[in-house]
Symmetry: C2
Subunit: 709 residues, 2 copies
């Protein structure tokens, strides 16, 4: 490859020397040749005989063209013949073109006749690359033609793309069936096509100055994939983002910030209603056991803690400094934190980039860099880390410990997380506000929560990703161990517009986010409620061992809606083997329906639910259960719930551990039953056939992405 | 048209006489000509001169073909010339073909040379018709070509289709932009294309025996739309569904059933746990004021009401008979109801078609027809009609009166409706179980609730529609007055499979349901929870007077997510005129963002919400408001809620009535605030940015469908 690189470097050097921003077609061909990207074969023949041989070696048809610096309008001069089909025709075409040229301009300098392979047939596709502000180099694939332009059916991956990535792109477009051959069409050579994608992605990775590349169209046939046209745009000023910090470095700093031995509150206040007062109270009432140092210009003591004029006056080590002072005073106080060697600053104040003062933000970023202080915020509510009883925030204290780590770019969404968590009794390990993300962002949190034994799922709300590539790389690694759920706001153009007026962030093309997040194993939440429900439900479920999902329902109508939801959420309804079908039939009334859903019918006593669920848990061919409960006098809600929890425990003791979710149809008592089930490991929802299946679907998405299925 | 009909009738008579099931190409052309469906112009010329004139009159290019009963292989005989481009060429082609034919077979009888318009260019589309088991005649439109086959991008309407329907089909496909001309392509002639659709739909309506029709491809150009190929399949045994009952007749019967002066309970029981006992208790405890007649073979009195052996022994008139006896006894008891001239039977028992006993169901349907008794069920929970305090069901009594009429095909879903309604304090006018729908179905309910002053929204769960056409026609009429929401279960193939094992109903192609429901002004719910939330929220909102939606938010992050939801739900975020922008800016901090969303920022006191919402309500250019609340100490949840309700009332008193919905982000106190807002006319949701916008979106969908926008 080093020789290939030299070839491309030479071409690019020439383009740079010429002060051009794009390559000529011959230069594009040289670059493609160097990287083994197939383009039409071509050569310049000097005689009729040579033209015939050349054409034969390329395969027919070919197009032949005069090569002369003196003839610019080749067609006008009779210097082009297309569709040449045999060696003999090629020889004759040679003479004809030569004759025409002489007639057209007798003294033209003729360098020969170009013979070029003609491409036609197969499927026209597009392979390209763009450079995204957040994600950097991306490789793109789509179908050619006018319909695709209209339907915008295109897919992206981070470059460089592996062969696996490239193959997944062929299935990643809506019209993917076309590549498999429809209506008698031949399937394309997937390996050849994937190879083109991989090579393009390698080329733009090796040469970051290639900011745009288009192979359009590429003719993909059963035999090969050849680019008929190459367009390469360069920007020699392009600078890729600097490499992110090493993970160990991130974790070391984040660990001190999240689990501090001592916290300073800069702007602590004894006065009710002040942010510095709320922060102090939350630290104290939240049960934080480390040292708390209020920093205040005059006070000697605040809420029972000795106060200091500056962090520099504090005798001991400080790990985290929480800021509750106006924006204009932050830089100076931060400098003192630097001199005190405090590794982390939690910048609650607003009044920076989001409020039209980017210079204030730039200033604190500089201070942070100078002293190696990690900055959280500014413009945030702070953060919670429940294992350390730490409420470093001006919001209410939060105390339901658990294993979900959530973060939000926006303060309002943070408050919604807190409210939902408390209301739904969702245990959390952390809730973090990221705000303007002047420094600490989603990938820093991923690195910390990855190794945090108190966290089993990471759920993040964001409006943009400052460094999408760093995030994707971290997420790809972390999601192999723990589910990562992301709610990307500003999905739609209207949403994106609001996002940019809110944070000054440029919202990316949503399709890029969609594809790259999927490539990184991230579960994408489609709504705020979904983010919250996934954070709550996914960690409750054990990892399924296979794709076979079975619905057991007392309400036939729920069975139908649950089946709809399975399809919507990419779940496979197991097709029932006859012996299993017969086994279920033993437990259900003769007019009940076996198959899948197993419809036990509505009038059945608890034992019918128990027997069928036991069978569902014990048969190794079934991997997950969805229960549809119908409230009746015979089997009241709490009787159902207690029975199900018992069966689950009994079967788990025997080694049968499978995900179970439930949909409860009935009068208000089903709400209590749903809560009981949830608290006992069965995500359950009243009056909804979709939510339980969405949660199970999210678990499956994660397990597939992590390679566990 | 009657002459056209005669022409087609004659063709079809011949097909029938020949015992064929499809038309020949020339027959297809005759049919198309009769209905003015453009096909390529053609004629048979008898001389070179005539061929030239004929071709000129058609427009070039043309294709010319020998017409001879003695020459079967025209091409082999040199009898076909394509791409003839001038009159002179046509004359020459005439002679050439004639010469070739003579050479090929000297004694061939030659009838002339066919001259036919050659179609090419423009956009290839498909216009067709199918006959659906539920909806009857449907007209279909899609793009031609392989991509569309893969993407299944096709749209349906009931036949006959109006010109307006047909035009809406051109916008009803995913790739609709293609018809407008892309990449330099010409836009198609929309009127010409719509005209083809209308005529096809009229043809299949006039001749129900045409069960399939395909014009594929139709070449649609800027000038015209011409069908290159016609395929017509007939089934002379096809019988359209009988006309539904006249609406007045339905309403007369349904009114007696839903608002009876007297109810008989067949199978009434004094024994706890029996269905006949639950029904009696619900009637009594529900507060029903009419007469209650328990029917029992032996008892003289049940729960304080005099019992009778048969309905025939009851002295007075009975309007509704509720059945609580085993399936096998139903037919006999129903016959007695017939003899007693009872207009309606509520058939709670199961054990009919759903349990493998279709003959039992057929028997009761026969009895019903014979005596003109309308049958609800069998296999249902019964029904509630709250204005009459009527709980004709074995479920718990329901008492939250209101204006939503809900129905479900499935009992489990009915229980979910009852539970949700009670939990969410959603007032209902009726909850009806339809079960096996042996007689009364969704369109009967539509007819009743249309004229019921106690009902302002109709929300229905169904797995199939026995007579989709009758439903669509009723819904089209009713939805002009009241919103009709439908949750169609069995949307997906897996769901459809479960549906058929559940009720024996054949679930239809979902795209047909999608299009016809939209054509009928129905709001389609995508999930059970959505059906319920729409039933609850849509009637709370006043009808908007225009499309301009404004978001006012304290949480910028909510603003972004609310904007996303607006796009997802087809709402138009108003673009802000400069004067309005300036007016809002007066009320918000300098770093807040005006535009839309109006971001008032999080730290603002109640007056900022009040001022901006007042402005939003009073400016006539704004038609709806979406509020994003962020819980802070400065503006606690209930303070926000009370302020908003006050502002709303104050502005309503001044004549400013607009839909307002709200998304509340905050700690658990926002739940109480959401409920208060909801009860006071502002649908509000805690921890969700999507639900309030979905409800507003549903209101808009209805208003557009009803022609109010």
């Amino acid at each position: 490859m080093s020789n290939s690189k030299d070839v491309v470097r030479k071409v690019l050097d020439q383009v740079k020397a010429d002060n051009r921003t794009s390559l000529t077609a011959p230069e594009g061909k040289v670059v493609c040749d160097a990287y083994g990207i197939p383009v039409p074969k071509e050569g310049v023949s000097k005689s009729a005989g040579e033209a015939g041989k050349m054409a034969s070696s390329m395969g027919f048809p070919v197009v032949m063209k005069i090569v002369s610096p003196d003839i610019l309008h080749k067609t006008e001069a009779g210097g082009v013949i297309v569709g040449v089909k045999t060696a003999q025709d090629a020889e004759q075409a040679y003479e004809t073109i030569l004759g025409n040229a002489r007639k057209y301009k007798a003294d033209a300098k003729i360098e020969g006749i170009q013979v070029q392979q003609m491409l036609a047939g197969g499927t026209e596709v597009i392979v390209g690359s763009i450079t995204d502000g957040s994600f950097g180099k991306l490789v793109a694939f789509g179908l050619g033609g006018v319909l695709v332009e209209v339907l915008k059916d295109i897919t992206f991956r981070l470059a460089p793309a592996t062969k696996e990535d490239a193959l997944s792109m062929l299935d990643g477009i809506q019209a993917h069936e076309i590549l498999k051959g429809v209506r008698g069409g031949e399937p394309v050579n997937r390996t050849a096509l994937a190879d083109v994608i991989v090579k393009v992605s390698q080329l733009v990775t090796d040469f970051p100055e290639i900011v745009e590349l288009d192979l359009n169209p590429v003719f993909a046939t059963a035999k090969d994939a050849i680019a008929a046209d190459v367009r390469i745009v360069v920007d020699f000023a392009y600078q890729p983002k600097p490499k992110p910090r090493p993970t160990e470095e991130i974790v070391a700093a984040m660990s001190r910030i999240m689990q501090p031995k001592a916290v300073a509150v800069i702007g602590a206040s004894a006065e009710d209603g002040k942010i510095g007062n709320s922060v102090m109270k939350n630290l104290i009432n939240g049960g934080y056991k480390g040292d708390i140092y209020p920093i205040h210009p005059k006070a000697t003591e605040i809420l029972g803690h000795k106060a200091y004029k500056s962090v520099k006056d504090v005798p001991g080590v400080i790990d985290t400094a929480v800021f509750a002072i106006p924006a204009k005073f932050v830089a100076a106080a931060l400098t003192e934190c630097g001199e005190k060697k405090i590794p982390g600053a939690v910048l609650i104040p607003s009044g920076f980039a989001e409020a039209g003062a980017p210079e204030l933000q730039a200033e604190i970023v500089e201070v942070g860099k100078k002293y190696d202080i990690r900055l959280m915020g500014p413009n945030i509510y702070g953060f919670y880390y429940t294992p350390a009883n730490l409420c470093a925030t001006f919001c209410t204290a939060y105390d339901v410990k658990g294993h979900a780590a959530l973060s939000s770019q926006s303060g309002g969404i943070g408050m919604a997380i807190i409210g939902f968590s408390r209301s739904a009794k969702m245990g959390v390990s952390a809730i973090v506000g990221l705000g303007n993300k002047s420094d600490i962002d989603e990938d820093d949190l991923l690195a910390f929560f990855e190794q945090d034994p108190n966290t089993s799922i990471i759920a993040q709300h964001c409006e943009d990703l400052k460094d999408g590539r760093a995030f994707a790389e971290a997420a790809k690694r972390v999601s192999k161990k723990k589910p990562v759920v992301v709610l990307k706001a500003g999905r739609t153009s209207a949403g994106a517009k609001a996002a940019s007026s809110h944070t000054g962030a440029l919202a990316g093309n949503d399709k890029i986010y969609e594809d790259v997040l999927a490539q990184s194993g991230v579960i994408r939440a489609r709504s705020l409620r979904q983010l919250l429900e996934f954070a709550r439900g996914v960690p409750v479920l054990p990892t399924p061992k296979g794709e076979n999902v079975l619905i057991i329902t007392g309400a036939g109508g729920s069975g139908v809606l649950l089946s709809d939801s399975c399809v919507d959420n990419g779940l496979s309804l197991m097709s029932m083997p006859p012996d299993l079908d017969a086994a279920f039939r033993k437990f259900i009334p003769p007019f009940g329906a076996a198959g899948n859903p197993v419809d036990i019918t509505g009038g059945e006593p608890p034992i019918t639910y128990v027997n069928t669920v036991k069978l569902g848990l014990s048969d190794e061919r079934i991997h997950s259960l969805i229960l549809g409960y119908w409230h009746t006098i015979v089997t009241p809600p709490m009787v159902f719930a207690r029975n199900m929890v018992e069966v689950k425990k009994e079967m788990e003791a025997k080694g049968f551990v499978k995900p179970i979710v439930a949909s409860l149809a009935g009068d208000v008592e089903v709400e209590e039953a749903a809560e009981y089930l949830y608290q006992n490991g069965i995500p359950a929802y009243a009056y909804s056939t979709e939510l339980p299946v969405e949660v199970l679907g999210a678990k499956y998405k994660w397990a597939r992405g992590a390679g566990l299925l």
